[in-house]
Amino acid sequence: MLIDSISQGLGLFSSPLVILLIFAGIIFGLLVGAMPGLGPLMGMVLILPVAINLEPITAMALLLGIYVGGSCGGSISAILLRIPGTPLAAATLFDGYPMAQKGRAGDAIGLAISSSAVGGIIGGIVLITLSPILATFARSFSPPEFTMLAITGLLAIASVSDESFLKGVLSGCLGLLLASIGTDQISTGYRFTFDSHHMLNGFHLVSIVVGLFAISEMVFQFAGKDLTSRPKIDIVRAHFGSLKMVFKHWKNLFRSSFIGTFFGILPGAGGVISSFVAYAAAKNAAKPEEKYGEGAEGGVVATESANNATVGGALVPSLALGIPGDAAAALLIATLLIFGFFPGPTLFEQQPELVGGIFLVYLTSNVALLICGILLTPVFVYVLRVRKSKLIPVILILCVVGTFALQSSIFDLWAMLGFGLVGIVLRIANFPLSPIVIGTILGPLLENNLRRSLLISREGYWIFIDRPIAATLLVVNVLLIGWVIWSTLRDRKKEKAALSAAQ
């Protein structure tokens, strides 16, 4: 099945346009990744309206390129400016910035790019091996299992949200409600449409995502200082010799890549957690003379290989089960849904050529990352000098034109602005936004399977306990909630103790 899928995918993959768009995606991803405040998700959001006007595999090439490039790009500003371009690169500055201070900025960027590429390839190998097995296993799933799986995905993402689990669940619920707007698939009645024909199919996912992430981010950037200043940075060049340097740390490289892939597979865990865990593991295993935190090469290798391997891991549940590993993977799922493909076991069964094509696109993206990243380092460094006063208006226009292009609808633009305002309020209140997107994607899966489960059940909700896999997932969900409650109470106890000690 695996070989068949890849050989069938080769036909779709071997087109000059696909290769070209992989490289274009990587370059764009590295650019948005390098610019503080943007990142891979924002890059994918901006390009999504363009992508959905392409063929499915070319769209995947473009978006996966941005995902891979953007996950690495943040390291450039972390190393040069001590400002991680994305949270994914937060741990890279521990050793990347000291390396730059010692005059080894080129080496540090080269190491970051090379380890990202190798880590991404390792994550890709796991993706190609594991996802068909998972998809085959999931073929036996019926509505009760899918219901529980959708709940697991949502709870897992909410449980690792930055602030609190409850805020994550609230955001997820908002996404679930948004997904229920429009024509009900079962009764064909209209829900929450307010008699507007624009709302018959609900809000377009792109206007939700662009509003929540891009518009709110631009308003936040606008509130910042130094809109017209540009940092003074010397142009730096990386070299392919850094690939050799990376393999000097091969144990660290493989360990960190597997840590990254593992955390990628867990919905919600993501690249930030994996890079910090990989860094901690590398530091613990290192010899004292390596001096982590003072410019150790191993520190950069650990964090960057882990955060890019996470991309491969995040694609495993996304493709095999239709459960997104993170918000960027949710966008990839959304794109496939817009094209009429349903990620999950049926995708592997009915469109093996597309799955194979995606595998090949992903692996090639990591090779393209190495080539473009090393050769074009001076360009990405130069981009850090772009003034925000020029960047913000351009991004706003791209949001408008891209969202309008979906359905030639001004209504979509107003919806985008509305979601932008909601995004601003929620971000100010520290609510995570990713669960909203994931809830919107999982909403139809959850609702349809829940209602179908209750239809086929003769004992109401007991159907979720009668079936072994559904019951296991139910136990996982209960344990997840239990773990969150326990850790919240523990933190509260610690907080109380710290407060009374201070008094």
Partner: protein, 165 residues
């Protein structure tokens, strides 16, 4: 007045309460009128959104209790530390809303260049000539990319202005 996350969270909770109110209002009026708000879970289109809305209200109640009993308020500062600092972002939102309105009326080509110019100007970039060049070139370049390469028609407005590239 100093702004902090504590007040912001109350605002967000009010938003969720309003959302739940809309869900129940729609279920009891529009969905009932259509006859799709009753029956078994499979045929009842209100079953699922009602369930989600109830879950939201339960969590909001828990958060309200948590916020009220909080040991230490989350007074972490926001990017907008005071009401005064909200003026610039509010200007952007206002200008953007005006742009969206005029986009439908006057079309892309008559509105985008002034919008780009004004945002750049508000940001503090006061070089008039360079801003005009920047705004014009960006507006035309984006139009060219979308209309020529992707074959998409941008809003022409009442004058139906579109460039035949």
């Amino acid at each position: 007045m100093k702004l902090n996350r504590y007040y912001a969270e109350w605002l967000a909770l009010v938003f969720f309460i309003a959302l739940v109110a809309v869900v129940f209002q729609q279920i009891s009026t529009d969905l009932v009128d259509q006859g799709i708000a009753s029956g078994d879970p499979f045929h009842n289109a209100a079953f699922y959104p009602r369930g989600v809305a109830i879950l939201i209200i339960v969590i909001v109640c828990v958060r309200v209790v948590q916020l009220t009993l909080e040991i230490k308020r989350n007074t972490a500062e926001l990017p907008f530390k005071s009401l005064h600092q909200l003026i610039l972002p509010l200007k952007l939102v206002g200008l953007f809303s005006l742009y969206l309105y005029l986009l439908g009326v006057l079309g892309y080509h008559l509105t985008t260049m002034p919008f780009l110019f004004l945002v750049t100007y508000i940001c503090g970039d006061r070089k008039i000539i360079s801003n005009i060049l920047f705004s014009t070139s960006v507006a035309l370049l984006i139009a060219y990319l979308f209309e020529n390469f992707l074959r998409l028609v941008l809003p022409g407005g009442v004058f139906s202005i579109n460039i035949p590239w």
